[in-house]
């Protein structure tokens, strides 16, 4: 029984099978991301009323908050799939982890820059050592560390396992880092005038926010599949299925 499940997992996680399957999945994710994203943008830019305190500038939150959520979510996915890759030696999981890093880093970057653009009219300066922005910056550094380690080691397998272990260590550390930054920030209050997360958000603001978050997530799924396909092609470049596929193109 157990063996049967194992064999099933191995069959479905073979890069060749994944390559064929993912081609069918990507359009679905991409199209739904586009539709939901455009609808979310429409609601966010046209339908949501201006905030009574921040005026129109709060509309940046429709990008900032989903991007911040995604940067954390992608890191989790990265660490979990790296763990699967290390423990059960599933190559596909390693590929997913490696493919996730640049996408997650760009979400973290987007959250940082939009946070500072939102902060300028609120705080009067582009950068304030706000707890959320600081945590986001550290998260970006964690992504950079992962990518640097991944590219510094030549042997593919040990690069995957080494950077995967780093991602797992990072995941254990993220709550601790987050908690300490949060605590550090409360000590040095006064810097922050307004917080991002408001306890009661108007429903007309919440819906576009959640739609944008969903669109970002679907976009990530589409893009991680595209990138994992590339990884599969590259890593299996000397195997028969890739050779047959390329000659058939």
């Amino acid at each position: 029984m157990f063996k049967a499940i194992w064999r099933w997992i191995q069959r479905f996680s073979s890069p060749k099978y994944f390559y064929e399957m993912s081609a069918r999945l990507i359009p679905w994710f991409a199209v739904s991301a586009l539709i939901i994203g455009v609808y979310g943008l429409y609601l966010g830019l046209f339908k949501a009323p201006p905030d009574y305190q921040q005026g129109e500038s709060y509309r940046i939150i429709f990008i900032h908050v989903p991007a911040a959520w995604m940067s954390l979510f992608v890191y989790m996915v990265m660490a979990i799939s790296a763990g699967i890759g290390i423990i059960w030696q599933i190559r596909l999981a390693d590929m997913v982890a490696a493919a996730s890093a640049p996408i997650g880093a760009s979400f973290a970057f987007l959250a940082l820059v939009t946070g500072s653009l939102w902060g300028k009219p609120m705080w009067g300066t582009y950068w304030v050592w706000d707890a959320r922005l600081t945590s986001e910056l550290i998260l970006l550094f964690l992504y950079f560390g992962y990518m640097a380690l991944q590219s510094a080691i030549e042997d593919q397998r040990s690069a995957d396992r080494a950077s995967g272990l780093l991602a797992i260590v990072g995941v254990v550390n993220i709550p601790i880092i987050h908690y300490s930054v949060e605590w550090w920030n409360t000590l040095h209050q006064g810097a922050t005038v307004a917080k991002f997360d408001k306890p009661s958000m108007h429903i007309d603001m919440l819906i576009p926010l959640l739609l944008m978050a969903l669109a970002f997530k679907l976009f990530y799924f589409a893009m991680v599949l595209v990138r994992t396909r590339n990884e599969a092609l590259y890593r299996d470049r000397n195997r028969r299925w890739v050779r047959e596929l390329i000659t058939g193109l």
Partner: protein
Amino acid sequence: MNWSEFFNMGGYAFYVWTSYGLMLLLLVANIVSPMWQRKKIIARIKRAIKREAIVGAKT
């Protein structure tokens, strides 16, 4: 609400539109870069196939 008012964003036009522009830019970059990568990988494998065919023919 007319269009110029919409683009003005209550005086926050620069911040809001820079944010949305950057989002668009990053999304597009995230779509384009794996496409380029794919082309490069395929070209590389094709070269390898050719090279091996030549080497194989000689031996």
